[in-house]
Amino acid sequence: MKKSWGKILLVLLPIVISLFLLYPTYKASNLEKLKQRYLEEAKKAKNPSDSLAIIEKFDKQYGKELLDAKANRIKLGLDLRGGMYVTLEVDVLKMIEESAQRDAIDDIFQEVLEKTRKDAQTSDEDIVDIFKRNFDQIARPKRKFLSDYFDFGGEALATEDKIIEKLKENAKESIDQALQVIRQRVDKYGISEPTIQKIGQRRILLELPGVTNETEMRQLLQTTARLEFKLVRNDENLVAAFYKIDEYLKKEKQISKNNQNLPSIPSDTSIKEKQLVSADTSKTESSDTTLATKGTDTTKAGEKADTTDPYKGLSQEEKSRRYLEDHPFTTLFITNYMPPNGERTQYQRDVRFYNASQVPKGEYSFEIFQDVWNKFEAILKRKEVRALLPYDVEILPGAKPEIIKDNKGKEYKILSFYGLKRDPELTGEVITDAVATYDPTTNQPIVTMSMNSDGAERWAKITGANIKKRIAIVLDNLVYSAPVVQQKIVGGNSQITGMSSPEEAKLLKIVLKAGALKAPVQIVEERIVGPSLGEDSIQKGIQSLLLAALLVLLFMVAYYSVAGLYANIAVLINVLLIVGIMAAFQGTLSLPGIAGIILTVGMAVDANVLIYERIREELEKGRSMKSAIDEGFSKALSAILDSNITTFITGLILYFFGTGPIQGFAMTLMIGIITTLFTAILISKALFQITLNMGATNISFGQPKSVKA
């Protein structure tokens, strides 16, 4: 018995290790069931705070445990749990187009792009190379040079070779940036356990479990993100323009009123009227809330100071009504005012004027309820309204609404919006690094960013010319921050202060660092598995695995009797090990993976069959049980090794040339081969030796009786 201990350990250890590795998977599934029960209970709860409490109770008690278990469990592939599998490719051609100076693009350049687009569909060549060839063929005979279209800053970058080099470099970098932006967007979308990885030079692979709204996801992935620094133009001209919009809308309403009395209405004005009516009703509603929650008499300082009050002598109520009627646009939001050269803390809140001519010089800021924003934006989009705004200014909202509560605890989401100079001063690709940290003296969260030499040079000029003015950091057309320039920044190292929380600083850092997505991406492959097919696949996969295993195990016992039983133990340990190893490497179990395991069960017994047939042969020759077993194992070894290594080689090739699902199959096949070698050779031999050590002189290999004698 004593000498068997090592062998017993050899058999038991893999079982224990596998079970240990599989425990998190078991635990995670149990905890998720428990969570489901809690959620159901929460649904039944009488009021929302009760149900919230139930969910919080679960999170407090098991939340961390579940998270830990989840991190170490076997993940199910998308084909088993449902979800979306997307391959994105960076659109290098689009990147080339975007890199060119906008006003330089002409028909010749378009022709080159068009030809390149066509060629690229059938070629694997680098798109920049195709572009260069087409440029040489089409544009060069027409005396055009690359430097006519591209300006990467500085004389040194103006040579043709340098431009091509820079384009290639941009193409290469853009994939990493795309990767980061997409990661950020996917995180924001709240998908649990997404897989996002770079494939080769130009592609990103995403696995998004549980995503059902493909349209929304597609938009999220394909929209171009662009980080820009834009000058804030919240000045008197903008506010004056807002009041002109008031006048325009008011006049338009009057015209449509008059037109109603006419016998025939031109179709054009009827459309206008419709827009106006819908816009108007929303305005009165929203401006009412604006006034109710924010408007107070004291904030109307600007109004009181003004002597040209057109509503003089009217009652307060009538004044309000008339003001609302006359200012359908500016009452949608709150305007704050700061006089020129004033201290930034001394904003005058909610200032109001009667018309554009009264707007004083200075700086302004704007706040709007988030639910009013769409209406506000719809008005701004109208061509006639657009024409009233300064031509080089666009209006963009802040990225994150500020949440405030009124006395009753009701939450309001308030957005800031900004008038920005349309052409960016600088785009994000000049940023080399950004760090979220704390100011050592004030202990306030800050973000530091550094720029490359080209960017730093331009940044010095920009900041020098705009001291005490604000520059907005804009990503995906959302303003993330609009810091005030304190001084001319030379060298590119800037510090952004005034963040209210470390989280805000961190977000800004991510925006600065990952925001500059130079090239748009396109979806080149998309696979969606509905949740019902996933469940169906799991069920069928497990059914066939169980049935196949059962048949093989029965056959082995029938054919090899006791020895067959030992082979079966080895096969079962084998399957346990495969799954355990997959859990250890945080592998993903997919349907082809299950196929790989099923196939391994079928093939794993082959090694045992080889050994047993040898042992039978040796027994036939009249050897003793012990020496027959030894001989059988050693003689079968070379055949087992050679046959498994050849299968392993095909597995390797499948793994490197296959994509997604095929790789899963190849992975399990390879793990299966290694575990098969281990279990069939070492474990089953140990089982025989343990039996012999226990004093057995004869183990049945299922051979017919006559032969044994």
């Binding site: 694997d124 099923i598 047939e613 040339f657």
Partner: protein, 314 residues
């Protein structure tokens, strides 16, 4: 239990008959491939595949009619796995495919339609996968040749490779037969490709077992002609060959019938491949080595086989 008690079947002596059989099978497979060609899945052609499930009873023809009334004309509509499940195939990808998808959902609203899965592959990716598949098959064949050439001798390597090419061609031929007869849906997709490569591995695996025995017996039975050694080796390993094929086939047949539409093509391809792989190890790979030794190396491999069979047994 024992299926074969000391088998002594004349595999080698009858090799010419089986060679003719193989010749006919391979020739017809190649003709089938050239005449009918494969149906490639969207993995290789690019395009969109949508699998749907409806709650009410619906026949394929009715569905086709319904869709064509709504001006949706997929290239192909066929049943998918179970009753009331269908697979639609479109040439379109990207936005065009998305539009068709939403039109499809609206048209079949009354049937409680549900999307089971949807695959969209851009034409460029399809072309890439095609190239990669080809490289993978060629590479695996070369790898086998080198490995067996090193572990045994190069004639053995060539024997194994010829056998596996034989297996792949025959399996492809059978794919066309079963697909065209509409017995099972067998377009060439990544799953079938994975199965083909696994067949490559398995075919060699089986061949190696016999070669290993031949190597061992050549040492042991010095002086006995190669043809005889080969035949003894095949007979000695026959029991193992049959049992392993049986266990693998047990598993594969369960998969063909139970594992659902996604894995069916894979399991079927493997089944055909395993059967032909076993056959070719005995009737193609070993006879090739024999032929090579006889014709190229001018070794007398047979030396009156019929007489020696009797004496060796004694």
């Amino acid at each position: 239990m024992q299926f074969f008690k000391k088998p002594n079947i004349e595999f080698i002596a009858n090799r010419k008959k089986f060679l003719i059989l193989s010749g006919i099978l391979i020739a017809s497979s190649i003709i089938l491939i050239l005449v009918f060609g494969f149906r490639y899945g969207i993995d290789f052609t690019g395009g969109t595949e949508i699998a749907i499930k409806v709650e009410k009873n619906l026949e394929t023809n009715e569905l086709r009619k319904l869709l064509s009334n709504a001006k949706i004309n997929p290239d192909e509509i066929k049943s998918y796995g179970e009753k009331n499940q269908f697979l639609l195939r479109l040439k379109e990808t990207g936005e065009a495919a998305n539009k068709i998808e939403s039109a499809l959902l609206t048209t079949l609203k009354d049937y409680n339609v549900q999307i089971l899965k949807k695959d969209t592959i851009g034409p460029k990716i399809g072309a890439e996968i095609r190239v990669q598949a080809f490289i993978a098959v060629i590479l695996s064949i070369i790898a086998m040749l080198i490995y067996i050439g090193l572990r045994f001798e190069f004639p053995f390597g060539f024997g194994a490779v010829i056998a596996l090419v034989h297996d792949v061609i025959f399996t492809l031929g059978m794919i066309i037969v079963f697909d065209r007869l509409n017995i099972i849906n067998l377009e060439i997709n990544q799953g079938v490709l994975a199965a083909l490569l696994t067949v490559v591995g398995y075919s060699v695996n089986d061949t190696v077992i016999i070669f290993d025995r031949i190597r061992e017996n050549r040492e042991k039975l010095k002086g006995i002609p190669f043809a005889k050694v080969a035949n003894i080796s095949i007979n000695e390993t026959l029991s193992r060959t049959i049992i392993t094929v049986l266990t693998v086939l047990l598993v594969l047949i369960v998969m063909v019938f139970l594992s659902g539409p996604v894995l069916q093509g894979f399991a079927f391809t493997m089944t055909v491949g395993v059967i032909v792989g076993t056959y070719s190890s005995i009737f193609i790979a070993t006879p090739y080595v024999l032929w090579y030794l006889k014709k190229v190396k001018k070794i007398n491999v047979e030396a009156d086989i019929s007489k020696e069979t009797v004496t060796a047994k004694a």
